[in-house]
């Protein structure tokens, strides 16, 4: 057996190792490093164990922000997913209007986050903003700077404006991939419009809907820029989401230890919830183990 031992081949994986190390491992480990240490300044660190984690997990501030995040993601999914499906169903499937619609739908997705924030910050102002002034002109007491509910409505509407088209485009892609024969068969079977949606379109969109839900959940759970620009987390703490709180803690207060612990907890929550979503959604409607029993 003449097996060639050439350990120089290991150098071929070196570029990948370096890239992964710098892009993921080292930054993450830095955070881990901070999260288990404390300092009194002068770059003097000492071991703090899991103290920061306990602190964060038991702090009301963290709980409040987490609950705000969960409510926000819940509202976003509850609005954007059905709305996106409706928009996709209403989009034309053939003809010149297809490209017009696609371009229009893609536009909001191309605008940078902070620009979206700025647009809505101005748009919703009651003195000079078109939307704010109109609403105020209708006699509705609306002020997103002072009223927590108004601030929430503004942030939610902004996110719906920004991201519904992503859901719609994904659903549209799922819809146009359904072969005509399905619709023809449904016609021949005498299916109603609702039955066509329930038994053909929805199941065939399942895959892309899973992606849409995951993307929208992760993005909305990590939302930072737009509410930061529009409300700055206010009024009070009413729109302070985890990410905004995290930045306040890490950059504003320079509490590196708690901020690092919070980052890790935040990261693990997103990971966990995404995994739960994925598992649940791939299992819903999946075929159970083939039965071979003689049950009729």
């Amino acid at each position: 057996m003449d097996k060639t031992f050439n350990n120089r081949a290991w150098f071929l994986v070196l570029p990948v190792l370096v890239i992964v190390a710098f892009s993921a491992v080292i930054p993450l480990m830095t955070v881990v490093n901070y999260s288990v240490q404390d300092t009194f300044g002068n770059n003097q660190f000492f071991w703090a164990g899991t103290d920061w984690f306990t602190d964060i997990l038991t702090s009301a501030r963290f709980h409040d922000a987490l609950i705000r995040n969960l409510i926000f993601s819940g509202i976003i999914l509850a609005i954007e997913i059905p709305l996106g499906i409706l928009v996709a169903l209403a989009m034309p499937k053939k003809g010149v209007w297809v490209s017009v619609c696609l371009v229009l739908m893609a536009l909001p997705l191309l605008i940078p986050w902070n620009v979206v924030g700025t647009i809505w910050q101005v748009f919703a102002r009651t003195d000079i903003g078109l939307l704010g002034a109109t609403v105020a002109g209708l006699g509705i007491d609306y002020n997103y700077v002072q009223d927590p509910l108004d601030a929430w409505i503004t942030v939610v509407v902004m996110d719906v404006w920004h991201w519904t088209s992503l859901v719609a485009l994904l659903c549209y892609a799922g819809l146009v991939s359904i072969p005509d024969a399905y619709y023809q068969a449904a016609k021949i079977d005498g299916a109603s419009r609702l039955a066509v949606f329930r038994y053909i379109q929805l199941p065939k969109m399942g895959r892309v809907l899973l992606i849409a839900v995951l993307l929208r959940f992760m993005d909305s759970f990590m939302i930072y820029t737009e509410p930061f620009v529009v409300t700055g987390g206010g009024p009070g703490n009413s729109t302070t989401f985890l990410s905004i709180d995290l930045v306040k803690m890490a950059v504003g207060q320079f509490d590196l230890g708690p901020a690092a612990a919070m980052s890790l907890i935040y990261f693990l929550i997103i990971l966990l919830l995404s995994w739960v979503f994925y598992t649940v959604m791939t299992n819903v409607g999946a075929d159970k183990a083939p039965r071979t029993g003689g049950e009729a």
Binding site: A181, A185, I188, D189, G285, A296
Partner: protein
């Protein structure tokens, strides 16, 4: 159940195409008798599927009428026509179980619950899928899915007709035979009108009592498999059905003889009166099936050069050249092949074509069948 009459149907997919004279269906005028098993046979793009979709109501023809018995259904929707159609790719409702799939068309038509249950159980039995009734339909194999598609059509016992659009395309070859014989059995049992679109001649010939051959948007011949084989009404039918297809030899007619590639061939006496259709300017062709071409010793027939011999196991296919025209002959597996040979044509199997249409040479018939569309 109903008799389906197609009354001067023409179809173009857009008005623009119609103006340009590009019709997917050029003119179809035909009656599918109640309870018959028909096959629509033709190459891809000949208009078979268009015709089928017009019958089922998925398409509205540009011109002409569709009648079920005496009712004009041209403008009716598929569900109003009460027709079943099985598509090329199996269509099943993924999230439903097999039984729910079968029950779906009945549920949509508000059939009473216990009636649905009874019919579904019955249909599961017929399809041999009783044990799989409670399974989700999505995990099944292609042939099982296609059986469900078929079952959804058959379960409505009152359908006017069942239309099949190349239903066995995605099925494994060994399953094809089985499904096809099951189909035939079901046809016998239910005595429904069945129209089966295919481009596979074996499928068409084994399934149908009558085969409708289509070519370039027109029906070129309707007949039993035997008729299609022995008297192709159009050179296309001769070429399309049979393997290898019919030999089609351009020729000229001179006083009872055919001149093929410079060689003179005496025609049977009854070919005489057909002269009326041999007007100037028409393309005259002689058609003969390879099965009726024999090899004879040199000097007794038309001299050919043998180019190659294909042994297909049960017989040999001789590819020869008559002048510059290719001619195929089928000879017995054990026949010895002379190095130099002539070919002879069995006189009764000779067909004469004028502009691709069969010339009626039956004794006494001088009448033209140039339209080729007689049933």
């Amino acid at each position: 159940m109903a008799r389906i009459s197609l009354d001067h149907l023409r179809h173009a997919y857009t008005p623009g195409l119609a103006e340009a004279g590009i019709y997917a269906l050029r003119e179809v005028d035909h009656v599918f008798e109640d309870g018959g098993a028909y096959a629509l046979l033709g190459p891809s793009g000949c208009g078979k599927t268009t015709l089928l979709n017009i019958m089922s109501g998925l398409l509205t023809p540009s011109e002409g009428h569709v009648r079920f018995d005496e009712t004009d259904v041209t403008m009716l929707s598929p569900e109003a026509r009460n027709i079943a159609q099985v598509f090329q790719f199996p269509v099943i409702y993924d999230t439903m179980t097999v039984a729910e799939n079968l029950a779906f068309p009945l549920k949509n038509r508000r059939v009473p619950k216990d009636e649905i249950q009874r019919r579904v159980a019955d249909m599961l039995g017929r399809l041999g899928m009783t044990q799989k009734g409670k399974r989700k339909a999505r995990g099944l194999t292609a042939d099982e899915k296609q059986k469900i598609s078929l079952g959804r059509g058959l379960i409505r016992s009152d359908v006017a007709a069942i239309l099949f659009d190349e239903p066995l395309t995605v099925i494994d070859p060994h399953m094809k035979w089985q499904l096809r014989s099951e189909l035939k059995a079901l046809h016998k049992e239910f005595a429904m009108t069945m129209v089966y679109v295919t481009h596979d001649q074996t499928e068409a010939l084994t399934f149908a009592d009558k085969v409708v051959v289509m070519y370039e948007g027109e029906v070129v011949q309707i007949g039993t498999p035997e008729e299609l084989f022995e008297r192709p009404q159009h050179t296309f039918v001769g070429y399309f059905i049979g393997s290898p297809g019919m030999n089609v030899l351009p020729c000229a007619l001179e006083s009872g003889e055919a001149v093929v590639s410079g060689q003179r061939l005496r025609l049977p006496a009854h070919f005489g009166p057909a002269g009326g259709q041999m007007a100037q300017g028409r393309r005259i062709e002689l058609g003969i099936r390879p099965e009726f071409v024999s090899l004879v010793p040199r000097g007794e027939g038309l001299p050919v050069t043998i180019e190659r011999v294909e042994d297909v196991g049960s017989e040999k296919i001789v590819r020869a050249r008559l002048g510059d025209l290719p001619v195929s002959a089928i000879v017995k597996e054990d026949a010895s092949l002379p190095a130099e040979a002539d070919i002879a044509f069995a006189p009764h199997a000779l067909n004469l074509y004028s502009d691709s249409r069969l010339v009626d040479t039956t004794p006494g018939a001088a009448r033209a069948t140039a339209s080729g569309r007689t049933a």
